[in-house]
Amino acid sequence: MFKKVLIANRGEIAVRLIRACRELDIPTVAVYSEADRNALHVRCADEAYCVGPPPSVESYLVMDRIVDVAKRSGADGIHPGYGFLAENPVFAKMCEDNGITFIGPSPAAIEMMGHKTVARETMQKANVPVVPGTELLDDDDLARSAVEIGFPVMVKAAAGGGGKGMRIVHEQKQTEEAIRAARSEAKSSFGDDAVFIEKYVEEPRHIEFQILADRHGNVIHLFERECSIQRRHQKVIEEAPSMAVDEDLRMRMGEAAVSAARAAGYWSAGTVEFLVDKHRNFFFLEMNTRLQVEHPVTEMITGVDIAKEMFRIASGEKLSIRQEDVTMNGWALECRIYAEDPFNNFLPSPGVIQTLRVPGGPGVRDDSGVYAGYEVPLYYDPMISKLCTWGRSREEAIDRMKRALGEYVIKGIKTTIPFHLKVMSNEHFLAGDITTSFIGDKFILETGEHGEGLRDVSLVTAALQMGRRTREGVSVSGQRDKGMDAWRMMGRRSRWVM
């Protein structure tokens, strides 16, 4: 096992990986930008080194500086998390060249799967079905190909993933702007503006399989995740298993996922993403050669700690479990909580978290990188927490999620918690009737039937809030006051007329 590991990331995933290392008794080295001196991952790690100014291109993406910190601190492994350098084959190679283990797949596998067009060809050869699409082309050829394939089409960044550098194009006149926007986001997120075009499968489900593979040729899958609930091609709610997958489809897709991993000569944890249409045809979409944001839901239904498995695999151990040992137990959901205002077009809402109360009790898991008093910086992804729930059934997992979201208090910034609460009550979601266009088509973020009565409660609160500010206002008891008023209330006549 590793003597010491450097975590080349920040936020919740850095904290997740430090937790895994603590449980494996591996000392950890954090790196941080100047904007992140007070970040949780810096406080949790055993060592911490600043690697540059706030913009990630000047800090978290500076490969030689990170490798230098690893060497100087004596780390013999680097885990890249997701995003940043996680799917950068140059970085994986640089680690190897410096005698440091890259805790992920081989540079060759990253490169093959990272270039979406090469990945498509590899999959076609391995008889895994793919969606019709183009190679990398310049703007004019892309625009022409879009017409040939037939709208709607998707413009996608060759590098990276996670919904960035992607644009859907419904009609010809949008093509130029979509290519520009995708290139611009791809450039700023991955440092590579190459894009290609794919047929856009309408009303698909996005279903992915979690893979674990060791360096000795053993490959298993840990079942599927349903990731159809997306905003701007970014997953926001995931679950495992999927209601759309029965035993037969699970077996066939699982086999295809394992074949895909074998075709890529893959080791480490990875994810094979598929689109599934309404006729249960599935198409290879891409392979993510890293730990996924949504890995916790798979951990909750299988009991396998995927992050810890990555460290074991990278240190050369064989998989401790065989395919037939992997069992599925219950149902798990994840809601990604962003520092965004759901009632104002999901505008980012950075700032200081003044109060934080994380839900607890049975079947609840919170993965977050923040704390009360922490300032969510402007420079990075606005995801601040992943809230997961487990239940014996999908219904129980949903009931728990509603309960847990209701308990979650994050003050000082606006978050997407109210959005998730609405999804958890949406009849289509409850019925499992979800596709990647769910949010556009089947979801309205409106005040519900109980709104009228609660409006008065909100006006009462605002009036008391105003009173706190001014001497003229009628004062409200603070925390330390005696409860005598409340006690007298027992004998009072009802006046609540709502």
């Binding site: 809402s349 109060t355 420079y379 990075y380 005040t447 008065d456 609160t461 605002a462 206002g473």
Partner: protein
């Protein structure tokens, strides 16, 4: 203490006082609520009204309030009576001149309008990149662009004036 709430164009009187028994009473229009209220955490109010317990989360900026309670949210303004009177003379509505500002620092990616352009409600005005995402600022109403305060490529602070629509 008297207030006026402006909710979706509607004006609602809200009054706070102590009744002869010394209990705290909030009256909304003609509905009286005897309230047991505690600020248990910063801007988090525990309210008990005739046995019903509410945990209310309020986010206030000057006279604007965002309230979250039991999964529902309410955005409105609340003025004290004197201020409401002054505002009333000047027109309490939110129509008229609209200043579109950034809520946070970011980079101006594209300016979609020029001074003198006619826009409809919901038309895109400016695309701003912040926190790695591009966000399109939309017009809150139909009108004419009377000012454009930024240029493409510019980096702006939070609160920067982008566009004025009249």
């Amino acid at each position: 203490m008297g207030y006026v709430a402006v909710v979706g164009g509607e004006h609602i009187p809200v009054d706070v006082f102590r009744n002869p028994d010394g209990e705290l009473v909030v009256k909304v229009e003609d509905r009286e609520y005897v309230v047991d209220a505690r600020w248990t955490q910063l801007d988090l109010l525990s309210l008990i009204i005739d046995g019903r317990s509410y945990q209310v989360d309020i986010h206030s900026e000057k006279d604007s309030h965002r309230v979250l309670v039991e999964g529902e949210h309410f955005d409105f303004e609340l003025f004290d009576e004197r201020k409401a009177l002054l505002k009333s003379a000047a027109g309490l509505g939110v129509e008229g001149i609209q200043e579109i500002r950034t809520s946070m620092p970011g980079k101006i990616v594209i300016v979609l309008v020029a001074e003198g352009d006619e826009v409809q409600e919901g038309d895109g005005l400016v695309i701003v990149e912040a926190m790695k995402m591009e966000n399109e600022m939309k017009s809150p109403m139909a009108g004419t662009i009377t000012k454009v305060g930024v240029v493409e490529g510019e980096t702006v602070e939070g609160g920067a004036l982008l566009v004025v629509v009249e």
